[in-house]
Every structure is written in structure tokens, then in C-alpha cells.
């Protein structure tokens, strides 16, 4: 059965690019424009979500807050969360780690780089 990944980014272009990369590798992809929409989809998803790829800076709810909210949900407590952002400062990484993120990918990244991380995390 294919793994399902939720991509969260306020840029539709980025969502499409990440989706194309993941679908080409055989993953199922769900998309959300910000943290609020991502939480709604996580709560109402018919299939369990195996991984969350989220941007850091988004309107309404950013990636750090989304990570915190996800970790507050019991049934999503173990879902890996990867932050995709242009921020590379140690402080931001520490904030993400403290919020419960699984990993950190600095933009820009190559598609194969993303697939390597996703495969490693999901497996």
C-alpha cells in the first residue's frame, strides 16, 4: 500500500513541485495551504498520514505551530514531520526540534535530496 504524505505550503507552485516529485516515486500526496488547513485534513483524512512536509513561514499558522498542534493530537503523535524552509539558523532549527519536528530541509533542495530524506524517514 502506498504511503501518504501531507505537503503544507502557502505556495501552490511549491506544493505542485513537491507533489510531482513524491507522486513520481509512488507516494500518495495530500496538499494544504497553511497550518490550519493541514490540521483539518489531518483530522478528517480517510487514510492515515505517514509523513508531514511543511513550510515554516505560512499565513494563519506557521510550521512551528503546526508541529506543536500535531504533537498535541494523540493519534498523530508519532507522525514524522519535516520542515521545509529557507531558514537555516541554529535558533530556528532548535525551535523546530523543540516543537516536535523530525527533520529539517533547507530550501533550495534537489528532488532526489527530498526523496532520500522522505524514504529514510518513512521507512
Amino acid at each position: 500500500m502506498n504511503k501518504t504524505i501531507l505537503t503544507v505550503d502557502d505556495s501552490s507552485t511549491m506544493r505542485q513541485m513537491v507533489g510531482i516529485t513524491l507522486k513520481g516515486a509512488g507516494f500518495g500526496v495530500l496538499e494544504a495551504g497553511d497550518g490550519v488547513e493541514a490540521l483539518d485534513k489531518l483530522r478528517s483524512a480517510a487514510r492515515p498520514i505517514d509523513l508531514v512536509l511543511t513550510d515554516l513561514n505560512m499565513p494563519r499558522m506557521d510550521g512551528i505551530e503546526l508541529t506543536r498542534q500535531i504533537r498535541l493530537l494523540d493519534h498523530l503523535r508519532g507522525v514524522p514531520i519535516i520542515l521545509l524552509t529557507t531558514e537555516s539558523s541554529p535558533e530556528m532549527k532548535q525551535r523546530g526540534k523543540s516543537a516536535g519536528a523530525t527533520g529539517w530541509i533547507v530550501k533550495p533542495f534537489q528532488p532526489q535530496q527530498l526523496l532520500d530524506v522522505v524514504t529514510k524517514v518513512i521507512r
Binding site: S11, M14, I20, P108, Q110
Partner: protein, 609 residues
């Protein structure tokens, strides 16, 4: 003496004289009668002797009649035999004619027997009435009168019987001759029919050979077409292999293009976020300046700092704008090139590989396969069975002819044997003997004809059997070659079908993400254009900042900013410094270059906690 006496004396003398004369006459008559009686006795003796001779002749006639009757019976038996051997036709009619003749012969013999009995009775009556001369003469004369015609009749009858038998024999011989002629005619007709059948068989065999040659020519032609098609298939396969190689070569380029596009989009996304942050910072700064300006003491200082800050922001914005414009140009060019290349690739895959070449190629192979299959079906289902049927029919026809000739031969031999038997019974060279010899000759001739025909039939059967075996062998060899060709065609078609399916799968596999990528690139283009428009909207902000900076240069400087404002300004300054932004832009835009790939893939960009 009276005169009467005198008268009477001469009368008496006259009477005496007359009496004497009468007595003398009587004596003479008596003498003559005695002589006659002697003659009669002699005649009687002669008659008796003749009668005995006649009786002997009658006996011989009776014997002849008996022999004739026996001969007739024999002839009837022969007729029955002939009728039995040839129940229909002239032989049967001849037997019936003999049977019709038999009652007449019986009646003739009956009349002869009756006359014989009457003659014997007359002779017995003559012998008993020898004393009655007149009566005897009369009866004798009567008998003689009767014997003459009777003897004539008997002579005629005996002659007629022999003639009748001879005529019957001649009639029988004539009938048998006619039968012989008819048999000869029938044999000639059969020979003609056999010759015609042989000619027809030869014509049929020639036609079959011609049809076989035509089939062979057609098969060779189809084989040539098949080989041409196979060569064409090989060329198409080589072309497809080349196209497949080109596609495989294009795949890494497409993947690199995708990576470049994704990296560029991420750079665009980063720049967009920074611009948004910059605008938000400026707006916040603007609000704070407005609040600080409400304070009369700190206003000059605030204005001075605002002037520097505005100058810095304007410079940063100008630099960002220049970099972004260059990036946008490169990004737009790269995206258009990628979209165009992908569109061309998808179009070439769909048009060149998808429906056109493979469909025509598959149709050609299918057509060739159907032609070969049709030739094989015709060869195996029509030609070989037709040859077998013709051969079997000819063999059955010849067997029937042989059986009929054997039957005729047996009948003729039986007739000859019967005729010879009859001839041996007669002991003389009769017509039946001739007939038997003739029939024997006919039988011999028929046997010779049968032998020759049988030999011809045997040779013809051998020829047809040999022809049948040759045709079977050729048909089997042709079927084997045809099946091999068909198998090759099927394998080629299956291989091409598999290659077509694989290629279509590859095309679909490539086409779907390519189309998605194309759509995504179009969306990116639209977003880039929108971003360009948004950046154009941001331009008046820069102009306002420029005007504000120029106005601030004319204001007195005063350090009235709060600590919070100064720390915020420092944060903004460090964040949006020209060097920092250039570094970010370089990482975003040019990190996909081959020289910097390894750097982008460094562990610092990815970290798992």
C-alpha cells in the same frame, strides 16, 4: 330237229363259242390275274420290302427326330445357359426364339409319328386282305396314293427338321455373332470411356499440378512479401530502438531540468517571502516612526535614523529588485525552454511512437500473417483433400471397370465352354462348334483386352498414387515452411506488440508527469508573472522611501529612538543586508549548477533530529 334247233345250234355254237371265248378269256384273265397276282405278290413283296425299308427309314427318321428332340433339348439347355449367363439382351431373345420354335418341331414330329402309325396299319390291312384283289388294289392304290404324299411329307418333314435345326443353328450363330458384335461394340465403348477417363484424369492431374504450381508461386510471393515486411519491421524496430535511445538519453536531461525548475521555484519562493518580510518590516517601521514622531523630543533623532534606515532599505530594495529581475528573466527563459522542450517531447512521443508507426506496422504484420494463414488454410484444407478425393475416385472407377470386364470375361468363357460342349455332343463340326470357337476367340480377345486395361489401370493407379504421395510430401513441406513463416510472423507481431505496449507504457509514464510538469511550469510562469506584477506594485513603496529619505536629510538629527526601535532596526539591518541577500539568492538560484550541487547537498541543508 326243228329249226329252232337249227337256230339254236348256231346260237348255241355262238354261245359256246362265246363261252369258250369267255372261258378262254377267263383263262387268259385268270392267267393274267395269276400273273397279276404274281405281280401283285411280287409287288407286295416289293412293297413289303419297301415298307420295311420305309419303316427303317421311319425309324431312322424317328431316331433323327429323337436326336433332334435331344438336340433341341440340348439347345434349350444351351439357351437356358445362355439366358442364365446373359439374362438380358440378344441371348435371352434367342433363347426365347428357340423356345418358340420347339413347339412347332414337336407338332411336326407328332404328325410324322401319326403317319407312321397309319402306314403300319395300312400295311397290316393289305397283308390280311391279300385275297381281295380289287379291294386290295384299291386299298393298295389308296395306300400308295397316301404313301406318296406321306413319304413326300415325311421326306419334307425330315428335311424341314434338319433345315429347321440348321436354320436354328444359323439363327443362333447369327444371334451370337450379333451378340459378339454388340459385346465388341460395348468393349470399344468401354475402352473409349476408359480412354476418356484416363484423359480426364490426366487433365485433372495436369490442372491440379498447375494449381499446385500457382499455389507455390503465390506462397513464394507471399513469402517475399513476408520477408519484405520482416525487413521493414527490422527497419522500424531499428528506428524505434534509436528513438528509444534518444528518449532514454532525454530522461536525465528532463530530470535535471525538473531539478533546476524546482530549485529555481524554491529560490523564487524564498525571495518572495523575503520581500513580504521586507514590506512588513517597512510597514512596521513606518508605524513606529509615526508613533515616535508624535513625541516632540525624540522627533529629530527619529527622523535622522529614519533617514538612514530609509536609505538602507531603498538600497536593499533596489539591489533585491535588480537581482530579482535578473532571476525572473532567467527563470522565465528556463521555464519557457523547459515547457517547450517537454511539449515537443510529449508531442513527438505521442505522434511518432504512439499511434502512427506502431499501428501501421502492426497492421502490416497482421495483413501478412493473415495472407500466410489464408494460404496455409487453402493449401491444407482444399488442395490436399481434393487430390486425395480425385485419386480415390479414379481408383474406385478403375476398380469398377476391372470388375465389369472380369464379369464379361467370365460370361464369354462360360458361353464358349457351353458351345464347345454342344459341339462335342454332336460329334461334327456344327454351327455350335464354330460358335464355340468364335465365342472362345471373343473370350480370348476380351481377356486380352481386360489384361491390357488392367495393366493400364495399374500403371495409372501407380502414377496417381505416386502423384498423390508427391503432392502430400510437397503439401507437408509447404505447410511446414508456411507454418514456420507464420510462427515467425506471429513472433514478430507479438514482439512488436510487446514493444508497442512497453513503449506506450513508457510514453504514458513519461507523458503524465511531463504533462503535470508542463502544467506546473505554466502555473509557475503565471505565478512569476504575478510576482513581477506584485513587485511592480512594491516599486511605489521604494519611491516613497526615497522621497522620505530626501526629506529627512533636511531635518535635524536627534537620538530619540527607543531601545526597542534600535534593536529592531539592527535586526532588520543584519537580516536584509546586501551581502546576506546576495548569499541567499545565490543559494536559491544557482545552487543547481553542477559546480555547486555537492554544496547544496551538504549535510547542513538537511538535518534529522
Amino acid at each position: 330237229m326243228q329249226w329252232t334247233h337249227l337256230v339254236q345250234l348256231p346260237i348255241a355254237d355262238y354261245v359256246i363259242g362265246q363261252a369258250l371265248r369267255l372261258r378262254h378269256g377267263a383263262s387268259e384273265q385268270r392267267a393274267a390275274l395269276g400273273l397279276d397276282l404274281e405281280r401283285l405278290a411280287t409287288g407286295r413283296e416289293q412293297l413289303l420290302g419297301w415298307s420295311q425299308q420305309t419303316e427303317a427309314g421311319f425309324l431312322r427318321i424317328g431316331q433323327f427326330v429323337a436326336d433332334s428332340y435331344q438336340l433341341l433339348n440340348t439347345l434349350r439347355e444351351a439357351g437356358l445357359n445362355i439366358r442364365r449367363t446373359a439374362s438380358e439382351g440378344p441371348i435371352g431373345q434367342n433363347v426365347q426364339a428357340l423356345e418358340r420354335m420347339a413347339p412347332g418341331a414337336f407338332e411336326l414330329l407328332a404328325e410324322a409319328a401319326l403317319a407312321q402309325r397309319r402306314l403300319i396299319a395300312g400295311l397290316e390291312s393289305t397283308s390280311t386282305q391279300v385275297g381281295d384283289l380289287e379291294k386290295g388294289q384299291h386299298e393298295l392304290a389308296t395306300i400308295l396314293r397316301g404313301l406318296g404324299p406321306l413319304a413326300t411329307l415325311l421326306s419334307i418333314d425330315s428335311t424341314t427338321g434338319a433345315e429347321s435345326a440348321r436354320a436354328s443353328s444359323q439363327t443362333l450363330a447369327a444371334e451370337l455373332t450379333q451378340i459378339n458384335e454388340r459385346l465388341r461394340t460395348w468393349l470399344d465403348e468401354q475402352a473409349d470411356q476408359i480412354a476418356a477417363a484416363r484423359v480426364e484424369s490426366r487433365n485433372q492431374a495436369t490442372a491440379l499440378l498447375a494449381g499446385l504450381a500457382a499455389r507455390e508461386t503465390a506462397v513464394v510471393h507471399q513469402k517475399t512479401q513476408c520477408m519484405t515486411g520482416v525487413a521493414h519491421l527490422g527497419q522500424e524496430q531499428a528506428r524505434l530502438s534509436l528513438l528509444s535511445s534518444r528518449i532514454e538519453e532525454l530522461v536525465p536531461a528532463v530530470e535535471a531540468c525538473l531539478g533546476q525548475v524546482m530549485v529555481a521555484l524554491q529560490g523564487h519562493d524564498a525571495v518572495r517571502q523575503r520581500l513580504e518580510h521586507c514590506c512588513a518590516g517597512i510597514a512596521e517601521l513606518d508605524g513606529q516612526v509615526t508613533r515616535d514622531l508624535d513625541h516632540p523630543v525624540s522627533a529629530p533623532t527619529a527622523l535622522a535614523f529614519l533617514s538612514r534606515l530609509s536609505t538602507l532599505e531603498a538600497h536593499q530594495l533596489s539591489s533585491i529588485r535588480a537581482v530579482i529581475e535578473e532571476m525572473m528573466q532567467r527563470l522565465s527563459d528556463g521555464l519557457r525552454t523547459a515547457v517547450s522542450g517537454l511539449a515537443n517531447l510529449v508531442g513527438s512521443l505521442e505522434s511518432g511512437v504512439g499511434a502512427g508507426a506502431f499501428a501501421a506496422l502492426t497492421a502490416t504484420v497482421q495483413q501478412i500473417s493473415e495472407l500466410v494463414q489464408g494460404a496455409l488454410d487453402t493449401e491444407s484444407q482444399l488442395l490436399a483433400p481434393a487430390l486425395h478425393r480425385s485419386t480415390e475416385a479414379a481408383r474406385a472407377l478403375f476398380a469398377a471397370y476391372r470388375t465389369e470386364l472380369k464379369t464379361i470375361d467370365s460370361d464369354l468363357a462360360l458361353s464358349a465352354v457351353n458351345a464347345q460342349i454342344q459341339s462335342s455332343r454332336n460329334g461334327t463340326e456344327s454351327a455350335l462348334n464354330i460358335l464355340g470357337a468364335h465365342a472362345g476367340a471373343i473370350s480370348l480377345e476380351a481377356r486380352q483386352i481386360s489384361t491390357r486395361r488392367a495393366a493400364e489401370f495399374t500403371r495409372l493407379e501407380d502414377d496417381l498414387a505416386l502423384l498423390s504421395r508427391q503432392m502430400d510430401a510437397e503439401g507437408a513441406a509447404r505447410s511446414t515452411i508456411g507454418h514456420q513463416l507464420l510462427e515467425q510472423a506471429h513472433q514478430t507481431r507479438d514482439g512488436l506488440a510487446d514493444a508497442e505496449r512497453d513503449m506506450n507504457t513508457q510514453v504514458q509514464t513519461i507523458a503524465q508527469p511531463a504533462q503535470q510538469l508542463q502544467q506546473g511550469l505554466l502555473s509557475v510562469l503565471a505565478e512569476v508573472e504575478e510576482f513581477g506584477r506584485a513587485f511592480t506594485v512594491a516599486a511605489p513603496i521604494q519611491e516613497s522611501l526615497d522621497r522620505l529619505s530626501r526629506a529627512a536629510e533636511h531635518l535635524p538629527l536627534a537620538p530619540y529612538f527607543s531601545q526597542k526601535s534600535e534593536s529592531r532596526v539592527e535586526a532588520l539591518r543584519s537580516r536584509y543586508s546586501l551581502a546576506a541577500e546576495r548569499q541567499l539568492h545565490d543559494e536559491a538560484i544557482w545552487s543547481d549548477s553542477p559546480d555547486r550541487k555537492d554544496e547544496s547537498a551538504a549535510d547542513s541543508s538537511v538535518e534529522l533530529f
